[in-house]
Amino acid sequence: MKFLESSDGNVLIVKVLENRITADVAAGFKEGLVEYVKKGNRMIILDLSDVTFIDSSGLGALIGSLKAMGGNGELLLSGAHEAVMNMFKLTHMNKVFRMFKSPEEALSAIS
């Protein structure tokens, strides 16, 4: 899974460079995110603006990454497309992850 990283203070912004987060890439997706957590990142904004679809395995990987933070830190999401947003609403994951229109909006919410 390819990511584009940037940082703003102690906040890591990770852009997912993939259109579909599905069963076949979910493991790599989680591995990548858990790696950021292992490196000590505790505030991560995940930019989903390139992602047009996420399936149940992709969602599982996202939740697994959040759990890897061990309750210490936050994974924020930004730029979710409609189909992705619908998935989060159906599973009420929009109540687990704070969701924003853009990384900038997410940044100003936590600063």
Binding site: A23, S56, G64, H92
Partner: protein, 406 residues
Amino acid sequence: MKILLVDDDPIARAIHAMMLHSQGHEVIEAADGELAWLLVQEKDIGFVVSDWMMPNLAGVELCRKIRAANFEHYVYVILCTSKGAKSDLIEGMDAGADDFLVKPIGPEELRVKVRAGERVLNLQRGLADKNRELATINGQLQSAHKLVEEDLKAAAWMQQRLLPQPMQKAHGIECLWRLEPSGYIAGDIFNCFSMGEQEAGFYLLDVCGHGVPAAMLSVTLSMVLTPEATYGSPLMALDPSTGTSAVLPPDDAVRELNRRFQSIDDRYFTMIYGVFDLRSSTIRFAQAGHPGPILMRKGAKPQTHGEGGMPVGLWPKIVFDCFDIPVRAGDRLLLYSDGVTECVNETNTAFGEERLLSYLEECANVSLEHLLEGLISELKTWRGKNECADDISLLALEVTDDMLEP
């Protein structure tokens, strides 16, 4: 290296044999092509240096015979000619000669040509060994693959047996279903059953991911999700004082499932579980991260119900909500897995909920059987050449009038 030296001229043969000996080779001599051909067949010979012009069988003919015999090992052939004419070379190459020597042959020339041939033979031997090794591995892989495939077929058969009967009836409802696994076995499962005196329960669930790991959990769940499960059904509440059990409200049942099935590897499941109470003509649903049920009622547009909810197995302390749909005889409900709405066509467009709803609207007067069959073929058409990425399951219910109060 063992070399067969063929020449009808005893002097030339003796000279060349001496050269080859001194260069460290084992030499077998033949006085003509016919004899050489016998030796090639009998002895394990990989290298031939042969004169061209010979009685009985000429060098070029010997070469043709060797090539036609198609020995298991490669035979490297050098033809010796005193002419060196271009047309001869072409004929020799056409017969399958690998190299040529022009008489008279000097020791150095012989040494380098033989060494070049030896290199080719070594390469060929290496390749042959690799090929044999690969063939063995390939055979092992094929039998392993066959074993896995047979296991999967057996698992698919066992999973099929857990599914409801065609046209299964429970209190006040009858149900029909379709299951199209993306592989042999599915992570989707569903059922429909009578509970107690006046109730019927039905569910459809989708374990995230697909294939064997998802199917193992879905099979486990289907064993647990019956009113008569051996170790205390999560769908029923036992009253220890009376020894009787009552149907749990669906939200409590899903909460109990969530308590029992906490994920250890991000493998949660989504489900929709309904309990139809004939006394109140109401279906109470719990919706755990699963697409909401679609109500189809005569004279009304099909409508999706429910506001979503968290999937099962992610966190221990989730509260699940429920909602009621009052129903009457003739009402139909469709429960489905997201493999339906997420089925993509060749341009990566999902089938989607809207297309599903309008299909169902067109099928208002069609039998449930045809409705499901038609939907499956609709999805196949939509998918085109795409593989089925996820399991597709459909559970359709119709409220019957035989037990409803007027």
